[in-house]
């Protein structure tokens, strides 16, 4: 065969700014940490706040990552995502309370085993619930955003009421497993052990998601589906099955996030998922709909900013995240790391 003419395009020399542009969102996290240091001015307080902000960010990321993929893949706005957070927390904490002897023992191994059992139970429950939620509530309203908002909010309300029926209307207070209580001290800074655990779990989840999305074929299908689902189907992949899988995995992650959020606050309520949805939506929007990396960076920014502002100027804490969202959308209207959608 006659070969096509070789293309030898002349590439323009890229400037340092051009080369840094893709990484700019990632650089915002250390930049915010530096700004926080200048604002707080006390190294010990800054370290405590930074770890607290990172831990909070990681938990929001775990809760939000499923939602961003669901939206990116099937254009589904799921206001009911918070239900998985609440149900995950109640199932997980119920398991922990049932394993009181293990959580009360001063043994790291027994404590971690109890937490692992709680997490697995919560993820299994929310994965099953996610499967049912998709079939019954989401499937009939594909392609209709208004109906999606209405029925998924309805699903959230039903789930909250079911929690009240099953666990009662009162808040449930509890304490963390014995070895996760207390703090480690670094100089004058005291850092809660649990927050370090939360940061570690968040990093592991992010790394695992990156691996699946970047290094496996199912990850390729998901990433391609977020950009152009129609073409993925035309290549022979059953996108609906992929979507159901992502919905279930996202629900399970929200359940994991619910357990972690509950352990962080040491109190759970039926409405905790609904309350977390504001932060989750902010993170999903500023990250770029459908972008896991954007969701990760967005969650860290939200966590850090909220902690710094609450310390420096508590009255502004309530609006800090909205202000962050406005600022980022003015800079990048499609979010920090937008997914290139097919037209």
């Amino acid at each position: 065969m006659t070969a096509a003419p070789e293309h030898a395009p002349t590439m323009a020399r890229t400037t340092l700014r051009d080369r840094l542009a893709p990484y700019a969102p990632f650089l915002l996290v250390p930049a915010l940490a530096v700004a926080g240091f200048l604002a707080v001015q006390n190294p010990a307080s800054w370290l405590t706040l930074t770890v607290s902000g990172l831990a909070m960010g990681m938990m929001i990321f775990i809760m939000a990552s499923g939602l961003t993929l669901v939206f990116g893949l099937m254009d589904v706005i799921n206001f009911g995502h918070g239900a998985f957070v609440s149900v995950g927390a109640f199932v997980g904490i119920s398991v922990l309370l049932a394993l009181g002897q293990m959580t009360g023992a001063p043994s790291l191994g027994l404590n971690l085993l109890a937490v692992l059992a709680a997490v697995l139970a919560a993820m299994a429950a929310t994965a099953t619930m996610g499967w049912a939620f998709e079939r019954v509530i989401v499937k009939p309203v594909y392609g209709n955003h208004l109906s999606q908002i209405l029925v998924t909010m309805g699903g959230l309300i039903i789930a909250e009421q079911l929690i009240i029926v099953l666990w009662g209307p009162e808040e449930i207070y509890f304490t963390r497993p014995e070895t996760l209580k207390g703090a480690l001290t670094f100089g004058d800074a005291a850092i809660e052990k649990y927050r370090l655990v939360a940061v570690g779990v968040g990093l592991v989840v992010f790394a695992a998601m990156r691996f699946v999305l970047r290094r496996t074929k199912i990850g390729l299908i998901v990433r391609a589906g977020v950009q152009n689902g129609e073409m993925v189907a035309a290549l022979g992949y059953r996108l609906r099955l992929v979507f159901v899988g992502v919905f279930i995995a996202g629900s399970a992650l929200a359940g994991l996030g619910g357990v972690m959020w509950g352990l962080y606050q040491e109190v759970i309520t039926a409405h905790m998922g609904n309350q977390a949805m504001i932060l989750i939506f902010i993170v999903v929007i500023i990250g770029g709909l459908g972008s896991v990396e954007g969701c990760f960076v967005g969650a860290l920014l939200v966590g850090l900013l909220q902690n710094y502002i609450a310390f420096v100027e508590p009255k502004l804490a309530l609006i800090s995240n909205i202000a962050l969202m406005v600022a980022i959308l003015m800079w990048r209207p499609m979010g920090m790391i937008p997914v290139v959608k097919a037209k």
């Binding site: 065969m1 070789e6 293309h7 074929k217 950009q227 035309a234």
Partner: protein
């Protein structure tokens, strides 16, 4: 004549309130290139999209290799052996060229010999193998789109305007690659507005107007009859090819 690879019987397809296809009858023989011609907006792209299942025909039926695929999901139609190159190329911009090709090979890793053949047809794809597809030029994106369809042997290739908006040098590349595919015995149903390419590649031609096929016959017969071209499409191919 052997059984056709594709037989479309009186399909009607609506898009919203518009009746785009109004009883399309079309036969694609096994082997060779079947051209689908006609003015803009007569339903050529809708015909291809109805075959692959992106839009549903509400009347008529589509037989592919003897099987009724009219109501099958798109993925099942593709797995039955259809390769699709859409008009907008449909590349995954955030994925690398390599990742686009990996996805295109649904039954496993791409055969190395087939990949060499694709690289021989489209050398830029080898050069930019690890680059994000979104950074390619328009011509390179079209090469990738066609290469994706060629990643595995298909029973039928549906190709929608492969030369649209491309420079003459790239059009030659496309035409050569498609000629090579045809010479290997592939069956191709192609929408094409570039009459020089249509004339060079086409074995049979179907001309559409107002959502129907109004003429079918040998490409050569159409190409050599300026009056027929004027009558069917309102212009002469010769005049349009220059």
């Amino acid at each position: 004549m052997s059984d056709p690879i594709l037989k479309i019987e009186g399909i009607c397809t609506n898009i919203a309130q518009y009746h785009i296809l109004q009883g399309v009858d079309l036969v694609v023989p096994r082997g060779g290139v079947t051209m689908l011609l006609g003015r803009n907006g007569v339903g050529k792209t809708t015909t291809l999209r109805s075959v692959i299942g992106h839009w549903r025909a509400h009347e008529g039926r589509i037989l592919f290799d003897g099987q009724d695929i009219t109501q099958l999901p798109t993925a099942a139609i593709a797995r039955a052996g259809l390769g699709f190159v859409p008009e907008d190329m449909g590349i995954f911009a955030d994925l690398t060229v390599e990742e686009n090709m990996i996805l295109a090979a649904i039954s496993g890793p791409i055969d190395p010999a087939r990949l060499d053949w694709i690289f021989a047809a489209f050398p830029p794809l080898k050069t930019f193998w690890k680059s994000e597809a979104g950074t390619l030029s328009g011509g390179q994106k079209q090469m990738l789109s066609i290469a994706r369809a060629m990643a595995e042997e298909r029973k039928l290739y549906l190709i929608d305007e492969p030369t649209k908006g491309l420079a003459p040098a790239i059009i030659s590349t496309m035409a050569r690659a498609l000629k090579d595919l045809k010479d290997q015995g592939a069956s191709i149903l192609m929408v094409e507005q570039n009459f020089a390419v249509a004339k060079a590649l086409g074995d049979t031609a179907n001309v559409m107007d107002d959502g129907r096929v109004i003429w079918s016959g040998a490409m050569e017969a159409l190409a050599n009859d300026a009056r027929l071209q004027e009558q069917l499409m309102g212009l002469s191919m010769e005049a349009h090819s220059t």
